[in-house]
């Protein structure tokens, strides 16, 4: 039965060849030594879980601190005469207004206002823009940026650097023991500093809904940083399985599943990523569509669903009370924190009101699902000290 249907919520996104030789992050040996189950993800061999399993790893992160290897993600510096204003040509955020030490969530848009990828863009220092994009999308993303901003920015890929995420309510005290300056940062601060004896870029952000940090270090220092953090008994290694269930509870979309090149930021519930200044100017790719959707409403919108019965996985159809198919689940599973299945999916705005009853079709049978406020589990970001 193991070889049966595996409706994993972790298939590869974007364009990558699963048959190609898998790359290894600098932490590969540490994962194997820790008993990780390694799986192909975004062209890398990545730990989907360690010995504790998804459920325990998930709950540990919500209660203590979880350490994730996300070195498959694409890190780069964009440099040029004015890289901030140049970046506004491909993403709808206010990057000219991005202050040193700050980070912003944004999306790379195609000409039709569809999302090529979602990303973090930061100014850890005065050295241009530091961006982190999804691993499975990185080759295409940097090609798009290079094409669109040719002559304006020069991209330096930071492929030799590792990226670690330390997430959970105890992450701050754990990291402060090694990097006192981390305690002076708030959510979405990002700084270049010396940490663990090496040049690091640390942001107070993550993909779990918890307080925490993402820590970029040179690849050859990653194993030592990983071991140092794990030496703290409050920290356990957490695999991509729990990373996915944590982000789902946090209502955070996963590119290639909840977002793709047809989905606009408005449909994807990411209207906040379109800065007011940019809306007023209407000067970003796909502005006409995105402005029209803001004014008149989109035809579909991403919602959260509390599912009754079996988990509704990606691809499950959503029906209205008359049984008409009106949408689709884009990611779903069992919520370890809540103890019942939850899902993200797209429905027409008329059915997007919190409390609306719909059905999800699982193995041919309709099950009750109720539109629920996002996030499913409250975010616990530290916005001020």
């Amino acid at each position: 039965m193991i070889a049966g249907r595996v409706a994993s919520s972790l298939p590869e996104s974007c364009v990558s060849d699963p048959a190609a030789d898998l790359k290894k992050t600098p932490l590969y040996d540490a994962h194997v030594a820790a008993g990780a189950r390694m799986v192909p993800f975004a062209g890398y061999a990545m730990p989907v879980q360690y010995r504790d399993g998804v459920m325990k790893e998930h709950l540990w992160t919500r209660e203590h601190a979880g350490l994730f290897d996300v070195s498959h993600m694409g890190q780069a510096r964009l440099r040029g005469v004015s890289p901030l204003s140049a970046f506004e040509e491909v993403a709808p955020g206010d990057f000219i207004g991005l202050k040193p030490g700050k980070q912003r969530y944004s999306v790379l848009l195609n000409k039709k206002g569809g999302i090529i990828d979602d990303l973090m863009a930061a100014r850890p220092d005065d050295d241009g823009l530091f961006v982190v994009v999804n691993g499975a999308c990185k080759e295409n993303d940097f090609k798009v940026i290079d094409n669109e901003l040719a002559g304006q920015v020069k991209i330096e890929r930071l492929e030799s650097r590792a990226l670690l995420a330390l997430q959970g309510p105890e992450a701050a005290t754990v990291l402060a023991a090694h990097v006192p300056e981390a305690a002076t940062m708030v959510f979405m601060d990002c700084r270049a500093l010396t940490a663990f004896g090496v040049d690091a870029i640390i942001s107070r952000s993550g993909y779990t809904g918890e307080d925490g940090y993402e820590i970029s270090v040179p690849g050859d220092a990653a194993a030592a940083v990983w071991a140092t953090l794990l030496a703290d008994e409050r920290v356990k290694p957490i695999g991509l399985g729990a990373r996915d269930s944590l982000r789902l509870e946090a209502g955070l979309p996963l590119y290639g599943h909840d977002l793709d090149e047809t989905v606009s930021p408005i449909e994807g519930g990411l209207g906040f990523a379109v800065a007011k200044k940019r809306r007023d100017a209407g000067d970003f790719p796909g502005a006409s569509r995105i402005m029209a959707e803001r004014a008149d409403g989109p035809t579909r919108i991403r919602v959260g669903l509390h599912v009754d019965g079996a988990p509704a996985r990606e691809g499950a159809q959503i029906a209205d009370e008359l049984g008409e198919i009106v949408g689709v689940v884009t990611s779903g599973g069992f919520s370890p924190s809540l103890g019942y299945p939850i899902a993200l999916g797209f429905v027409p705005p008329a059915l997007a009101e919190v409390g609306t009853k719909v059905s999800v079709i699982v193995r041919g049978k309709p099950q009750l699902a109720v539109v629920t406020e996002l996030p499913f589990v409250p975010h616990r970001y530290i916005r001020k000290l």
Partner: protein
Amino acid sequence: MRFTKDHEWVLVDGDIATVGITAYAAEQLGDVVFVETPEVGKSVAKGDNMAVVESVKAASDVYAPVSGEVIESNAELSSAPETVNAVPEAGGWFAKIKLSDPSEVDELMDKTAYDAFLEGL
């Protein structure tokens, strides 16, 4: 107890087979959060999708290891799916099947053969 290569087990008493998934399968799946057992009265042929077992991250099919009629399914699993992890080869059984062809059981692996099969995985 007999075993399949798909990691189901069968325990025969007379012409009734109790079926479930093996400890190895339960361990590989991780925490079971939902089980869909077959309806009583349903006829299954060996190899048919008989049940579904879901972990946090995936749904997997459970195949009928033998042919026959489902005469009982384990109602406890709907409220306590974690039983599959706790006692996969006992209280975590899925269904009882009235065998239509008892000779099918002889084709399944015994414990020694299944352990050797697991060694080779």
